[in-house]
């Protein structure tokens, strides 16, 4: 018998808010976190815009020495994890530590460190490469250091599935609680790659928006004039807990997590499959795992990257999976406001899906000004909407053809 799993804590660091309440309020107000790149001189780059986290102070969460020994993606994860645990009211101690685990994914890892240390290698030689280079760079270190800084001694791992990393990490954590391996999981995604190499590489792929004249309107999922994604950064971490434990301690329950599904396109390095087959099967797997009828799904938090291909194929996939019901449910992409947080996207979007259920509000897809005849679903255009939403699913798709979907529903004490 699988155990029931609920969401009892949320922590976020985003381009529109350095904690969850500010993030959510800005999100439903349709505020944009996009602007010009400040992290490096992007003058010579075809894309000069990003969605940066603003005014982050790592010293609120770790000491100065640890700041020097960690990359930003790890600092973001520690911040989000500590906020989420505090929000859940969970204190980790000798009695419970071994039943509390961590599963935080990153798509890329410590690219800023890799780049700066490579420069050291070229300019000063191998004897000056920092002993912290490897532990700062490796992508599993978010989960590793969150456990060190919180004392969580249970299952500890991370998914590396590009832009699906956050969603896969939450899905895997969900199963660990369902199957009894842990009672609490601190899970989600983190990313920080606003660096010269990342922009050079993603630009060469043609993946990034080049709307440098109007940053706040550059990310426009499902709009006819979309021309690529805008890179964001940050971290989204949720606390999953067995229902039994949450009830025993009288915890606030935001929502119930009910399903997880995944699939592979087996098609192309970076392009999603044109027939939407892989993405559709991921959604169907999550819906089936959740024990839902297709018609019970009210809201889809889309991957919705604002690239010409993703948004078209995701729309096709939703129709393929849901048939006529695709036109009854609502879909939105918050990447219109916070950009694409790569491996952190699934974490933030899980928080968004959970809060949509908790507050009965659907966040909008902003910048949807020119309808694309091929994208003809209800994308909650431009304004948030109060709605009766019982179940929500959240999609993430990663380069390599990874598709992952997680499902939540309003918690009912039955």
């Amino acid at each position: 018998m699988k155990r029931r799993v609920v969401v009892t804590g949320l922590g976020a660091l985003t381009p529109i808010g350095n904690e969850v309440v500010t993030f959510w309020n800005n999100l439903i107000a349709g505020k944009s976190g996009l602007g010009y790149i400040t992290r490096f001189d992007a003058t010579d780059y075809s894309t000069r815009i990003a969605a940066e986290v603003k005014d982050f102070d790592p010293l609120l969460y770790i000491d100065k020495k640890e700041v020097r020994r960690t990359d930003l993606f790890v600092q973001y994860a520690i911040a989000a994890a500590k906020m989420a645990l505090q929000d859940a009211g969970i204190q980790i101690d000798d009695q419970n530590a071994e039943r509390i685990g961590v599963y935080i994914g990153s798509g890329i890892g410590g690219l800023p460190t890799l780049e700066s240390q490579h420069t050291v290698l070229m300019e000063k030689g191998p004897k000056r490469v920092s002993p912290f280079f490897i532990p700062m760079m490796i992508g599993n270190m978010a989960s590793g250091l969150v456990s060190i800084h919180t004392g969580a001694k249970g299952p500890n791992s991370s998914s590396v599935t590009a832009c699906a990393s956050g969603t896969n990490s939450i899905g895997e954590a969900f199963r660990l609680i369902q199957h009894g391996d842990a009672d609490v999981m601190v899970c989600g995604g983190t990313e920080s790659t606003i660096t010269p190499m990342a922009f050079a590489g993603f630009s060469s792929m043609g993946a990034l928006s080049r709307n440098n004249d109007d940053p706040q309107r550059a990310s426009r999922p499902f709009d006819k004039e979309r021309d690529g994604f805008v890179m964001g950064e940050g971290s989204g971490v949720i606390i999953l807990e067995s229902l039994e434990r949450a009830k025993a301690r009288g915890a606030r329950i935001y929502a119930e997590m009910i399903g997880y599904g995944m699939s592979a396109d087996a098609f192309h390095l970076t392009s999603p499959a044109p027939d939407g087959n892989g993405a559709a099967r991921s959604m169907l797997a999550a819906v089936s795992n959740a024990g839902l009828e297709l018609t019970e799904v009210d809201y889809i938090n889309a991957h919705g990257t604002s690239t010409p291909l993703n948004d078209l194929y995701e729309t096709i996939a939703i129709k393929r999976a849901f048939g006529d019901h695709a036109y009854q449910l609502s879909v939105s992409s918050i990447k219109s406001m916070i950009g694409h947080l790569l491996g952190a996207a699934g974490g933030i979007e899980a928080i968004t899906s959970v809060l949509a259920l908790y507050h009965q509000i659907l966040p909008p897809t902003t910048n949807l000004e020119h309808p694309d005849p091929e994208c003809d679903l209800d994308y909650v255009p431009n304004e948030m909407r109060k709605a009766s939403v019982r179940t929500a699913i959240s999609n993430s798709f990663g380069f390599g053809g990874h598709n992952a979907t997680i499902a939540f529903k309003v918690y009912e004490d039955v």
């Binding site: 000491d63 020495k65 020097r68 004897k127 000056r128 002993p131 912290f132």
Partner: protein
């Protein structure tokens, strides 16, 4: 001109995030100043750059307290 000790204190204080006053001659790098093995390697790189000398692994292993660093640096300087 700053003494060897003052220069060593400044580097250790910045690297290990400890107050200058804690970096006494008798302070143990690992125990009193809370450096792990990676901090020690990192610290040695900075000391090499600061004093323009090379600290080989054998010499590095002998460093336990702040006095060991000061003595090593002064001895190297006397030899040149």
């Amino acid at each position: 001109m700053a003494t060897t000790l003052e220069r060593v204190q400044k580097i250790i204080s910045e690297k290990l995030d400890v107050a200058i006053e804690e970096v006494t001659l008798e302070a143990s790098i690992r125990e009193d100043l809370d450096a792990d093995s990676l901090d020690v390697v990192d610290l040695i790189m900075d000391l090499e750059d600061e004093f323009g000398l090379s600290i080989n692994e054998e010499a590095a292993e002998k460093i336990a307290i702040v006095q060991d660093i000061v003595s090593f640096v002064d001895a190297q300087k006397a030899n040149t």
